[in-house]
């Protein structure tokens, strides 16, 4: 039987704002399946985002949803989680939102290892504002503000997260749609700050400027560059040139922030 998404979609809030061919909807469906597979209580689940096309996602899902300011999702979510640690807190947003204006909040959420899951939809561009380059736009690519090619080097989101202290980091793509829910579900189950980067596409503002003839071509690129971590182990550096690893890239057990703060409360109360 086909999966019933309606159980989680807010009545009357569709159609969504995304363009035909945008990868964000694929990620939303993955998130919904992940929530369903874990049986998360909608009342006890907060979905928090920043600003951008990707950040419109929470509005469609029937949970406690918080569409914040550009780049600030991690900071708002930290307040929710600290005040009510028993809640499941999921963040989502675009690459610009998370790694440019929100970069500081992102790395500090990683460092604290606070038990939340951050889904970052990386389409390599500021989609909502019409295709300006983001910190994840490849060097040389065309954006509305890099008419001569992008001179900036790009972030590797996963490495950034690992370096900053996140204890679960995974990567998937919008092409590999059926893997998305599994990565997100594993991330939510992980106790600590988990980051799931989903490489997706913005045909409207990135594809057309960068000589992709169709959405299918953009999706095929995702298929071609993705190499599962297991498969990569058997490949030479030459073979891995231009590829990106997918799957669970990093996982570690470390003290979680709200649990550590509960100990602060105990110490302050003189219990221990």
């Amino acid at each position: 039987m086909a999966f019933d998404y309606d159980k989680y979609i807010r009545p009357g809030k569709l159609p969504h704002i995304w363009c035909p061919g945008c990868g964000h909807g694929i990620v939303m469906k993955g998130l919904i399946r992940a929530i369903d597979s874990l049986g998360l209580d909608k009342n006890n689940t907060a979905i928090v985002s920043g600003i951008g096309c990707a950040s419109r996602l929470p509005g469609y899902i029937d949970c406690c949803t918080l569409h914040t300011a550009h780049g600030r999702a991690a900071a708002f979510a930290t307040g929710v989680k600290m005040a009510k640690p028993e809640m499941n807190v999921i963040l989502c947003g675009g690459d610009g939102d998370g790694t440019a204006i929100g970069g500081n909040h992102f790395i500090h959420a990683c460092r604290r290892n606070i038990d939340m899951t951050y889904i970052i939809m990386n389409n390599n561009i500021y989609g909502m504002t019409g295709g300006q380059f983001s910190p994840c736009t490849p060097t040389g690519a065309k954006a509305s503000t890099t008419p001569y090619g992008n001179p900036d080097p790009a972030f590797d989101v996963a490495k950034l997260a690992i370096g900053a202290g996140a204890t679960f980091v995974a990567r998937g793509t919008a092409y590999h749609a059926t893997q998305i829910d599994k990565l997100i579900a594993e991330a939510i189950q992980h106790k600590g700050f988990s980051v799931v980067e989903i490489l997706d596409d913005c045909p409207t503002t990135y594809g057309r400027r960068n000589k992709f003839k169709s959405v299918i071509e953009m999706m095929n690129r995702l298929k071609d560059i993705a190499v599962p971590v297991k498969a990569a182990e058997k490949m030479t550096p030459e073979q891995l040139e231009g590829k990106v690893l997918t799957g669970v890239l990093y996982k570690q057990e470390k003290p979680e922030y709200t649990t550590e703060y509960a100990k602060v409360i105990e110490r302050a109360k003189g219990a221990k």
């Binding site: 991690a74 900071a75 302050a268 109360k269």
Partner: protein, 377 residues
Amino acid sequence: MAKKVAFMQGNEAGAHGALYAGCKFFAGYPITPSTEVAEVMSAELPKVGGKFIQMEDEIGAMAALIGASLTGTKALTSTSGPGFSLKQENIGYACITEVPCVIFNVMRGGPSTGMPTGPSQSDIMSAKWGTHGDHPAICLVPASVQEIFEETVRAFNLSEKYRTPVTIMPDEIVAHMRERIVFPEPGELEVINRTAPSVPPEKYKPYDTSFGDVPPLAAFGTNYRFHVTGLNKMEDGFPTTKAAIVQAEEERQVRKVEANADDIIKYEEYLMDDADIVVVAFGSTSRSARFAVNEARKQGIKAGLFRLITFWPFPEKQLLALSKKVKAFITPEMNLGMCTGVVKGCIEGNAPVHGIFRVDGEPINPGQILDKMKEVK
């Protein structure tokens, strides 16, 4: 039983006032001259099961505050000048989403890094207009350690009652001075909590104006699920660009404060019955003004003090009425004329307004005010 009495600093009193009001969450970023508030909260909150978090910057602190408040938790942040500027983005977010929270901003010299340890009263316009767009503003300006405690409690009450951020802004002198404080007993001061929804979850709308200008606010993590956005929104919390709804919502947000100005505005009148020279002052400057008024009276000058305790909404009505019977206003302030301009704006030219402005990091002393009284009498 005798009440608990202490010798306490203003910032510390603010922290204790917040705890009295039931604050259970603090997020901040260190900055002189406000840091003592954070230090006291870091020590006291966990004792009562509350949470303290030092964020990566003031933008993040303000964001965390709103997130915490949405779970039904009373939340405080403290800051000063540059930090207040950074908070403005999310103060606007709290205004439009109507999420209660309290900002304790100690006024130091500015703009920019300015004078980190010098007193100032130059954030009063930022407290109203610091964030972009039309929005309500409530700002309290206490003048003593005792009053910082009591006004912090009131800041929480107003914030909860009107579902809006409230700023309490002692200047550096009041925040750092030490004075005797008599702690109110539990229950002695009123403590207000936001109105919870009375309808079942499936009927709940976070901006349902059938409940009046201040709709009830549910909490995340209960069985009420709702959406919050910084976009202009409809009564169900979802974005809209429908002109009539946007206009009505913007007007309601401002009206819920303006129409209740009488409930929010607080001031003290000192020797005002027969006064013809009236000093309008607030914070530490009002202490110098009181001294000057006493001296003036000894010298036969009919001086009085109108002390602002609420700065926003401004007591326009009261000053307009006064302006019809007094000879002159004197407005001493540690900035270059912000309050003076506001006073002029509401008295329809009925009386002259003589400002005394200082931005050199020194307090305005009673002598300066007395000299001005002699000059204008």
